[in-house]
Amino acid sequence: MICRWMALLFAASLALTAQAQEAPDALVKRVAEDVLQTIRGDKDLQAGNQAKVKQLIESKLAPNFDFTRMTALAMGKNWRSATPEQQKMLTDEFRTLLVRTYSGALSNYRDNTMDYAPLRMNPGDTDVIVRTSVRRPGQAPVQIDYSMAKTPDGWKAYDVIVAGVSLVTNYRDEFNDEIKRSGVDGLIKKLTDKNKGPTPK
């Protein structure tokens, strides 16, 4: 009995270490292919069943993002002037917004195929850019890059760059303008209202 527990524990710890040590490009490829396979094999997901799409994002995509860091970067210099409570609310609302945005878009990805560029990375690097490109029938490929940082829980993405447009940088303009107009609380309210609105198709 004890032997069996030991073996289980050993296996579990092996699995954990394997995950922690997974290279960032391998992580992106595994997650992307997993998600694409899931969508291709599920009619509900293709039809845009929101509950199922959301569950897929929460279980497979979201754990690989560092939302606190994304929010801090999108806030820029305003991050430090926000109170810890405001920072937490901002992170929660921004996370919700991003998940909702992805939920609307994900069902369109069925016909996409992904190409993965070889990763240029030195041993000991803790910050890398994983480059991919998405092919869609009848259209030019779109380059999608992930900025990733090494954390105690493995590699986490903190920015997505689509055709040269950084998600975080684009939101920095949005956040800056809102904060200039109505302060950090105004931005929180704006995000909360947006998230309460109708679910995007």
Partner: protein, 235 residues
């Protein structure tokens, strides 16, 4: 070229000239923001009432292989212009790929309806006159939002004009065929934008601002071949 496209082209030319004239005293990227925002409202109203429903109907009713072939057909003409622009940008190898694609897809791909070149690994790489002008050092000029055509700048809009005048479709003598092709080209482009539009709808706190900033960054990225100099974080 038909008179419709021509009148659009000359209106655009006039607008560009006027805007370029005013622009010299302004330094910000969007000096005509109030005007542009009004045009964006006009666009949303007209597009939402007429164009978008047609594009959605097209996506619902036309089978996917048909739509892909329509995209491929117009994409083949785009490849020709990408090739010309890559030559003008001094990228001879890339231009060779573009012309190779046109050759393969026009013949084995049956007038561009299919895309065997991509299957063979010769990938598509879109560029246009606006990017070429940018590489030659032309400043982008003020941002302009043109209803039913979308975001552009003085430089990119000038590129559109060159492209509209040069388009082979404009040289077709049969008026009905020519106008149908222009219409189908527009519909195909609009349909391709539906999914990007729903992302914009979901993501943006202010759609006008989000679209403008994303458009200008994407163009800048292309002009600098994917290595744009760092932006100033503060305005």
């Amino acid at each position: 070229m038909n008179s419709f496209a021509r009148s659009i082209a000359s209106t655009l030319a006039l607008a560009c000239a006027l805007l370029a004239g005013c622009a010299t005293t302004q330094s910000r990227v969007d000096p005509f923001e109030p005007w542009n925002r009004a045009m964006y409202q006009v666009h949303e109203a007209v597009d939402g009432a007429v164009i978008k429903p047609i594009a959605e109907g097209y996506v619902r009713s036309a089978p996917e292989p048909v739509r892909t072939s329509v995209s491929n057909f117009f994409g083949n003409i785009d490849d020709l212009f990408s090739g010309i622009n890559h030559v003008l940008q001094g990228k001879k190898e890339r231009a060779g790929d573009d012309f190779g694609r046109v050759l393969l897809n026009s013949t084995f791909g049956i007038a561009g309806l299919f895309d065997p070149a991509s299957e063979m690994g010769i990938t598509k790489d879109k560029t246009d006159f606006g990017i070429t002008f940018g590489k030659w050092g032309a400043p982008q000029g003020p941002y302009i939002f043109v209803p039913l055509f979308g975001p552009t700048t003085v430089r990119d809009g000038t590129g559109w004009l060159v492209r509209i005048y040069a388009s082979p479709i404009g040289y077709i003598d049969d008026v009905r065929l020519r106008n149908s092709l222009f219409g189908l080209n527009y519909l195909d482009t609009r349909a391709q934008l539906l999914s990007a539009e729903s992302v914009l709808e979901a993501a943006a706190l202010d759609k006008y601002r989000y679209l403008r900033n994303a458009y200008l960054r994407a163009r800048r990225y292309q002009v600098y071949d994917g290595k744009p100099p760092a932006e100033d974080e503060e305005e």
